[in-house]
Structure formats: structure tokens, C-alpha cells
């Protein structure tokens, strides 16, 4: 396979602006099939926006996003809906449907496709629940009865139920204790081992970035950039990230407040 054929997602000069608020500017990015990319950066730098652009939940103000050779902007509503079935999305707060049971949540995407009999759906749900390490008895519970870690795992089971080609993880470990965070990291790794899935993980948890990613990409908030500077301040492997000399990258990786505290207090 050539390098071009392996490129699954391309960002071409993508910019996003909400009203007068610029979030992303001139982003160029290529994501290869089967790889795991971690997008890191401070809160509010546009990481989640980048993820939602990939799946077409948001549209860029300028530039275009190409998935598997097709520009998202050229797709009709129906084609975009079909395209989305190739993705799985684990939301930051899991985004479980609170009026439905765990079973109905995990089965939701499969039922929406309308291709499988109920018996097969039941078996797939059972397998996915088992895959994310939850007891079978949980299927009758409502999301409100679950802990944060359980919700994330149900959200992962729901995303995996439709056998996605690309998994998008939005802050998968935020709000979880260190042990549960590592459980989620392990599940992300296991998901990659079990199926040839491309993974994009948006996170500010450096443990997650170092553990699950082949490549790390760091975004910097536009409000802190000097004129002429690019918004992507790091693009490389986790190993390169450990020793990268840029003080902005070091500050984030080492988790130091430095000038930010002064900015907040001034």
C-alpha cells in the first residue's frame, strides 16, 4: 500500500470560527489508516472541535476535510449519515440516552441500521458489554444508576457495537480516578488489538497520550499565539514529545502553571 492510499483523513487549511471567536486556524493534518493519534492541548484550544469536524457534527468556516477520498462538504445529508456509521464516538460525558436502559443504549446504533434481527443484536450487545469488562446484569440499568467509569465503558460498548473503522475518543479519562483512567486506556489499546481501527484520542491526560498513541499532535490556543505562529506546535511520536525542547510543549507535558496563573489573576 502506498503512503497516499493509507491516508484516511485529511485536513486541508481548515479554520473554524464561532461568531467573532476563532478556534482553529489553517490546520493541515493527515491521519493514516490503522494508526492512533493523540491530540493534546490546553482546555479551549479546539481539540473537541477538531474531533467533531471529522465526523461532520461541525462544519469548517474555511478549508475542507476529506475522509476516504471524499470531502465531507460535498456529501448530502443521507451520505453523511451513512459515512458516520463508519465512526465510533466516545463522548466526554459518555452521552448515554438517559431515557433508555444500558441494553437499549448499546443496541441503539444497530437497531437504527435496521439490518440485523433482534437475536443477533442481543448477542452483539452481550459481547460488547463483556469486552468493556461490565457484568451482564448491567444491561437493565438506566445511565443514572451508573458510576462515571461505567458510563464511559457503556459509551465505548455503544460506539464499538457498530464495528467502526475509526474510533474518536473525546477526553476518555476526564473525571475518572487513576485506576479507572488506566482501565479506559487499556480498553483503547485492546480495541486496537482486536480490530484494525484508526483511533483519534483527544486528551489532556499525558498518561493517555503516551500509552495509547503512535503519534501526538499538540494544539496551542489561538489567543496565545504570536502573529505568524502555527497553531500546531508539536507533531511527532510520544518518544519525541518526551524530549521536545519547545517551552510551551514542556510546560504542558510537565503540567506547570508558570505564566498562566499571572494571566488569570491579572
Amino acid at each position: 500500500m502506498t503512503a497516499e492510499r493509507k491516508a484516511l483523513i485529511n485536513f486541508e487549511n481548515v479554520s473554524v470560527q464561532f461568531g467573532s471567536q476563532r478556534v482553529l486556524q489553517d490546520i493541515n493534518l493527515t491521519i493514516e489508516a490503522g494508526k492512533a493519534l493523540a491530540v493534546i492541548g490546553e482546555s479551549g484550544c479546539g481539540k473537541t472541535v477538531l474531533l467533531k469536524l471529522i465526523i461532520g457534527l461541525l462544519r469548517p468556516t474555511a478549508g475542507k476535510i476529506i475522509f476516504d477520498g471524499k470531502a465531507l462538504v460535498d456529501l448530502s445529508d443521507h451520505e453523511l449519515t451513512q459515512q458516520r456509521l463508519r465512526f465510533g464516538f466516545l463522548f466526554q460525558g459518555a452521552a448515554l440516552f438517559d431515557s433508555l436502559s444500558v441494553f437499549d443504549n448499546v443496541a441503539f446504533g444497530l437497531r437504527a441500521q435496521g439490518k440485523r434481527p433482534e437475536a443477533e443484536i442481543k448477542e452483539i450487545v452481550r459481547q460488547r458489554i463483556q469486552e468493556v469488562g461490565l457484568p451482564e446484569g448491567i444491561v437493565l440499568k438506566k445511565p443514572a444508576e451508573l458510576s462515571g467509569g461505567m458510563k464511559k465503558r457503556v459509551g465505548l460498548a455503544r460506539a464499538l457495537a457498530v464495528d467502526p473503522e475509526v474510533m474518536l475518543y473525546d477526553e476518555p479519562t476526564t473525571g475518572l480516578d487513576p485506576i479507572m483512567s488506566d482501565v479506559i486506556n487499556e480498553l483503547i489499546l485492546q480495541t486496537r488489538q482486536r480490530r484494525p481501527v484508526t483511533s483519534i484520542v483527544v486528551t489532556h491526560d499525558m498518561k493517555t497520550a503516551f500509552k495509547v498513541a503512535d503519534r501526538v499532535w499538540m494544539l496551542y490556543p489561538l489567543s496565545h499565539l504570536r502573529p505568524g505562529e502555527e497553531q500546531v506546535i508539536f507533531d511527532g511520536t510520544p518518544e519525541q514529545l518526551r524530549n521536545f525542547p519547545d517551552p510551551r510543549v514542556r510546560q504542558f507535558v510537565e503540567g506547570e502553571a508558570k505564566d498562566r496563573l499571572r494571566e488569570i489573576q491579572s
Binding site: 464561532f18 476563532r22 449519515t81 463522548f91 448515554l96 440516552f97 446504533g109 460506539a159 489561538l222
Partner: protein
């Protein structure tokens, strides 16, 4: 999300920004309406989804519409009686009560109750789904969120509001009659006899047609407010409030323009010479 450091905008900039926001909102609402209506000829929601919406919008609204409709009729009787009595026309009370209820108060009351009871709840529910990313999750799972969430609510509001109006009309007429006949002791035969003939098929028809426009406005405005909600719990509260306020304004504005249009249509069809605002 990143914010760009900038000077506080001046008066002109603020006005321009507000104007831009207003135009953008109207455009967004137009696009939202187009997306909703475009589903109707293509594919209807599943029967279970529709039934759930019909139950919430229709069945659960009957008690509140019935009670408020009855009180409106009773209040009309109380407020009108003394004037009619002084003119020696108390037996004509049924005319004013029944025509007021069937032509205006019933449809507007049913719509207002729907906006308050159902519109705000729809906006709050959808806004909660928006801020917890459940609407995004629907789209990600290959389900069109407008088709799944908005179309059933739209159909329920448009199709069931005429039935709620009938309930409001009936209870309003009964409430007026109750007070007139039982409290003011107007003779029953003359009360009903005099009221006959003042409400024709045209009044009944337009009285049931207008609410369908009100229902469409309530559903679209409320769902749009919910879909566009931002900002957590505060945003959810704001969506619910805006849904009612905007729906109520839309109901009254639509009522005015529909009354005008329908009256002119009536005149054009039957060459009536009654007083009209235009034409």
C-alpha cells in the same frame, strides 16, 4: 474554546453584532424549518415514536386545556353579564360567549396552553440532550436527530392542536352556559336559541385551521430553541423560557395575520360587507 483578546466593542459595533446575530438566528430558524419539513414527504418516524409524542402532546394536555377553557367561558359570562343585563339583552349572552370562544379564545387558549405545557418541556428536554451531547450521539449513530426528535413533536403539535381546540371550545361554551344559566338564571331556551346561527361552518373551520399554524410555530420554535441551546443548566432554563415567550408572540402575531387573511378570503368568496382592516 479559545478566546481572542480584543477591546470591548463600542456602541455601533455592539448594535451591528446584535443585528448580525438576529439575522443569523432567523436564517438558522429558516434552515431548521426547511430540514424538518423536508422529512415529511420522505419518511415518517416510527409508529412507537409518534405514539409517544402524541400521548405527551395530546392526551396529557387535555386536562389543563379543559380546565382553562371552562374558566375562560365562566369569566366571559361574569364580565359580560352586567352590560348585557343593563341593556336588557341578558338572553343574548350566549352569542358573545360562544362566538368569542370559538373564533378566538379557544384556539389561542389551546395554543397558549400547549406552548406553556408542551413547548417549554420540549425545549428543556432537547436542550438537556444538546448540552449532554445526546443529540450529537444520535447523529454519530447514524440517526438523523431532526427526523428522530423534531418531526414526531412537530406532527403531534400540528395534528392534535385542533382536537385540543375542540376541547377548549366545548369547555368554554359549557363554562359560559353554566354561569349564565345557573348563577344569573338566564332562561335556558332563549340563551341557546339566541346563540344559534352566529357560529357557522366558516367560523368552526377557521377556528380549527388557525391552531394548526400555532401548533407548527410552537413545535418549530421550541425544538429550535432546544437544539440551539448552549451553556449548561443556565442554557436549558433559557431555552425553556425563550420557547414559551417566542411561541406566545408567534401565536398572537399569527392570529392577527391569519384573522386578517381569512376575513379577506371570506369577503372575496361571499362578498360580505363587514368592517375589515384592509381590502
Amino acid at each position: 474554546m479559545a478566546t481572542v483578546g480584543r477591546e470591548p466593542p463600542g456602541g455601533f459595533a455592539r448594535t451591528a453584532a446584535a443585528l448580525y446575530e438576529a439575522i443569523a438566528s432567523i436564517g438558522e430558524f429558516g434552515e431548521f424549518t426547511r430540514r424538518t419539513l423536508s422529512w415529511l414527504p420522505r419518511r415518517l418516524p416510527s409508529s412507537s415514536t409518534l405514539l409517544q409524542s402524541f400521548y405527551t402532546v395530546g392526551v396529557l394536555s387535555v386536562p389543563v386545556v379543559a380546565v382553562t377553557g371552562m374558566f375562560i367561558g365562566m369569566v366571559l359570562a361574569v364580565q359580560s353579564y352586567s352590560q348585557f343585563h343593563q341593556l336588557g339583552m341578558a338572553t343574548r349572552l350566549g352569542v358573545i360567549i360562544n362566538t368569542s370562544v370559538v373564533r378566538e379564545l379557544g384556539p389561542v387558549l389551546a395554543a397558549t396552553m400547549l406552548a406553556g405545557r408542551v413547548g417549554s418541556a420540549m425545549a428543556a428536554e432537547l436542550a438537556t440532550m444538546r448540552v449532554t451531547e445526546q443529540i450529537d450521539a444520535l447523529d454519530c449513530l447514524g440517526v438523523n436527530s431532526v427526523h428522530f426528535l423534531v418531526v414526531p413533536r412537530f406532527l403531534a403539535c400540528v395534528l392534535l392542536i385542533p382536537l385540543l381546540t375542540i376541547v377548549a371550545n366545548f369547555m368554554g361554551v359549557m363554562g359560559g352556559a353554566l354561569v349564565s344559566l345557573q348563577v344569573y338564571r338566564i332562561e335556558e331556551y332563549y340563551y341557546w336559541h339566541n346563540a344559534e346561527g352566529f357560529i357557522g361552518l366558516w367560523d368552526l373551520g377557521t377556528g380549527l385551521l388557525k391552531p394548526m399554524f400555532f401548533g407548527a410555530a410552537i413545535a418549530l420554535i421550541s425544538c429550535h430553541r432546544g437544539f440551539k441551546s448552549t451553556g449548561g443548566a443556565e442554557g436549558v432554563g433559557r431555552a425553556a423560557t425563550e420557547a414559551f415567550v417566542y411561541s406566545f408572540i408567534a401565536i398572537l402575531a399569527l392570529d392577527f395575520f391569519l384573522a386578517l387573511g381569512l376575513n379577506n378570503l371570506h369577503d372575496a368568496l361571499w362578498h360580505s360587507a363587514g368592517p375589515r382592516l384592509v381590502g
